[in-house]
């Protein structure tokens, strides 16, 4: 018997028992509204395709990864430097995670704007919300598995949020970390979550989500003025599909496939160009000199931390996220019927724009890492040459002290240095020498008080230097009570007997 007949015979044998291909072709051919074959409807399937890729690359990574405190870091180093194309595998998985989170948010915004969560698709939306939480959970647990210094950040901040819960905070932290501190037990715990628990839930809910999409049909392209009611919607949809329907495959699916192809290509290219994330320095508490940074999708959280007034932090951290999540789940029950088109739902449009711009702006702010001092600036970032030339010996000593007292870790000069405090390049236009003295001695506004740690000579030197920090064309700020006192006299004003 020729080969072709053999394969057909085997295929028929299975088909008779499973009946798969008939089911599949039925599913593929099920009619969808003509209008839903839109370029707007491609994000969900693209998210799904990336999810499949994550599973594949994740399994490949799991064959090398060692989930132990000693082994984790070195197994990633092995992938990066020794295993051929191991780095690319890591890059695909890491960037895939960013892609998936991004696509999922776009998909969600589209579903929201097109009213697709309304009757009878409430359950689809709720399953989607679970998928959202699980995907964010995967992103979070995934970066912990890297177990480098950056991973500490994510974990540390997560633990500190949880630890704020009244009464149970400490117990919860214990539960998450597997102990009071980040240690080997923490890693085992997160490995189990990332590889078994969350993916299990994800696969289950993806199945439910897809089943519901097939069962209830793809949302028609909303028309302004076409109102959803519980009484008529099902019949209306039925009529659209039978009258003006098209088979899902290939009619609607071709756009999905083209878009998914573009996304995969983009992922392949981005991973090849930008490479894997870390691992950076090994997690070792004896290394003090670290500059850990959280992963991209948590940057905005850090910005929130840095910008919130301290008294409101606990409240907003504990109450804010649960409210937002509860609102998300409740959405289809709050506005389950009515107008679908975004053209008639201006408030929804505003909400989406607000949400995206807020998170975008916060992320952008987060990239400046204003929350953390730049620990190396004091010995690494040179005083700009322009601030050295033509300065007096005392002013130069002041410039040195700005380094040695680590002011540079919080204050930039010439664009280099930390951003916790304002840049000092033109501080003399804002403050008089007396005000500068007060700020340094007493601190305030997130700046430590240096009064006890500076000698009079040191204060004089720093103030003399900072007092030169104004554009040449502009005079420094003066004391309005004694305007005749020239600024350069600050030295004789404060210095000990000469």
């Amino acid at each position: 018997m020729p080969l072709r007949d053999w394969t057909k015979a085997i295929g028929d044998w299975f088909e008779l028992r499973l009946g798969l291909s008939s089911t599949l072709s039925e599913v593929a051919a099920h009619p969808v509204p003509r209008s839903s074959a839109s370029w707007w409807y491609v994000f969900g399937s693209a998210t799904f395709v990336i999810f499949i890729m994550q599973i594949v690359t994740g399994i490949c990574l799991a064959t090398v990864y060692t989930p132990s405190a000693e082994g984790a870091w070195s197994s990633l180093i092995y992938l990066n430097y020794t295993q051929p194309l191991g780095w690319y595998l890591r890059a695909l998985h890491g960037w895939g995670s960013d892609f998936m989170v991004g696509l999922m948010f776009v998909h969600m915004a589209q579903v929201y704007l097109f009213g697709a969560y309304k009757y009878p698709r409430e359950l689809t939306w709720v399953a989607g919300c679970v998928l959202l939480l699980c995907t964010l959970g995967m992103a979070f647990t995934g970066q912990v598995l890297r177990f480098d210094q950056d991973a500490y950040w994510g974990l540390g901040i997560g633990a500190s949020i949880v630890g704020r819960f009244p009464f149970v905070g400490f117990k919860l932290v214990h539960l998450i970390l597997g102990g009071p501190i980040i240690a080997a037990e923490t890693l085992s715990r997160f490995f189990a979550l990332h590889v078994f628990v969350i993916p299990g839930i994800l696969i289950g809910f993806v199945a439910l989500h897809l089943f519901l999409v097939l069962k209830l049909g793809i949302n028609e392209y909303p028309m302004p003025g076409r109102i959803v009611t519980r009484e008529h919607y099902l019949q209306d949809y039925e009529r659209t599909v039978t009258g003006d329907g098209e088979p899902f495959f290939p009619f609607a699916a071709q756009k999905d496939m083209v878009f998914a192809g573009i996304i995969i290509l983009a992922l392949l290219v981005v991973a090849a160009i930008s490479g894997p994330f870390g691992p950076n320095g090994q997690p070792d508490p004896t290394i003090i000199k670290t500059v850990p940074r959280p992963d991209f999708f948590f940057l905005w959280l850090f910005a929130v931390f840095a910008l919130l007034p301290p008294w409101s932090e606990t409240f907003l951290m504990l109450v804010g996220p649960p409210i937002v999540i509860a609102l998300l789940f409740a959405l289809p029950f709050i506005s389950g019927t009515g107008e679908k088109s975004w053209r008639r739902r201006p408030i929804s449009v505003v909400i989406v724009i607000l949400a995206f711009t807020t998170i975008g702006t916060l992320t952008w702010l987060g990239t400046f890492s204003p929350w953390s001092p730049k620990m190396e600036a004091w010995s690494e970032a040179p005083t700009p040459v322009d601030y050295v030339k033509g300065r007096t010996p005392l002013e130069l000593q002041g410039a040195i002290l700005i380094q040695s007292k680590q002011c540079r870790n919080c204050h930039a000069l010439g664009g280099e240095g930390g951003m916790r405090g304002p840049a000092l390049d033109d501080v003399a236009t804002r403050l008089t020498p007396d005000q500068i003295v007060r700020q340094i001695i007493q601190g305030g506004g997130n700046m430590p008080a240096y009064g006890k740690n500076l000698s009079p000579a040191e204060v004089n030197a720093i103030v003399a230097f900072l007092n030169t920090m104004h554009p040449r064309s502009e005079l420094g700020a003066r004391n309005s009570v004694k305007p005749e006192q020239p600024i350069s006299d600050v030295d004789s004003h404060h210095s000990p007997a000469q």
Binding site: P84, Q282, K289, S379, G390, Q397, L401, S404, A457, E458
Partner: protein, 239 residues
């Protein structure tokens, strides 16, 4: 097999080979240089210098707020033992911090040796300090003599009383002197600051290099202007 099939095979296998070899040169591939080293395992001189010293002593040892280390005369008079000691232990009472791990710093002894060796390799020049006064003072200076030395060698730039002239600012300012060690003053007088136009021992007067005694005297004179201040007094306590 047909000829066409041969061609196809050849083409696809060469594409595959090309693709695989290209993988090694993709921009995303982690470079050896990105290998995350422990801070204590860094042995590259420029990296060590730039991370630990450039903030105060300037990029390439020039135009920093503190003494310019890119100075062949200075490197000519100071030996490795003293250099190592300064870097490891810092200079007490000044902003020069200790770098040795044993003194609370972040560098290993090996790294300090690399920095000292690197500075010499980059910036020292044979014979630059020939005939220069020694790094360490040989005997106490005489402040009264120093006044005369100052008038002879320094007043042209620093003004008759040292409070300023062609050179900006006062070098007898109490706060400045309180923050600067005698050894640093000596280093300035002997080796100068070529980056900021400060002469060295042989350049003050044409044909009349400073003698070791003159250097000690003028430093003693400057030191005599240093206000007596309790060590460690804080600004808050004083006011």
């Amino acid at each position: 097999m047909s000829a066409r099939r041969h061609w196809g095979l050849a083409l696809s296998s060469s594409m595959l080979a090309l693709g695989l070899s290209a993988c090694n040169s993709l921009p995303g591939r982690p470079a050896r240089a990105d290998y995350p080293l422990r801070p204590s395992a860094v042995t590259n001189y420029s990296e060590l210098y730039n991370e630990n010293c450039a903030g105060c002593h300037g990029v390439d040892g020039k135009f920093g707020a503190a003494f310019a280390l890119n100075n062949p005369v200075y490197l000519g008079i100071v030996d490795d033992k003293r250099l190592t000691n300064i870097v490891a232990r810092g200079v007490d009472g000044t902003a020069m911090p200790p770098f040795a791990a044993s003194a609370g710093g972040a560098l290993t002894d090996e790294q300090i040796a690399i920095i000292v060796g690197g500075m010499r390799k980059q910036w020292a020049r044979d014979g630059a300090a020939e005939g220069a006064p020694s790094y360490a003072t040989n005997g106490p200076g005489d402040p009264a003599q120093g006044t005369k030395v100052f008038a002879t060698f320094c007043a042209s730039c620093h003004g008759a009383d040292g409070k300023g002239g062609a050179a900006p600012g006062s070098i007898v300012n109490g706060s400045f002197l309180a923050l600067t060690s005698d050894q640093d003053l000596r280093a300035i007088v002997i080796a100068g600051r070529p980056d900021l136009g400060h002469p060295d021992w042989k350049d003050y007067l044409a044909g009349e290099p400073m003698t070791a005694q003159q250097v000690s005297d003028v430093v003693a004179w400057l030191a005599s202007k240093r206000p007596a201040m309790p060590r460690g007094a804080s600004y808050a306590q004083r006011n």
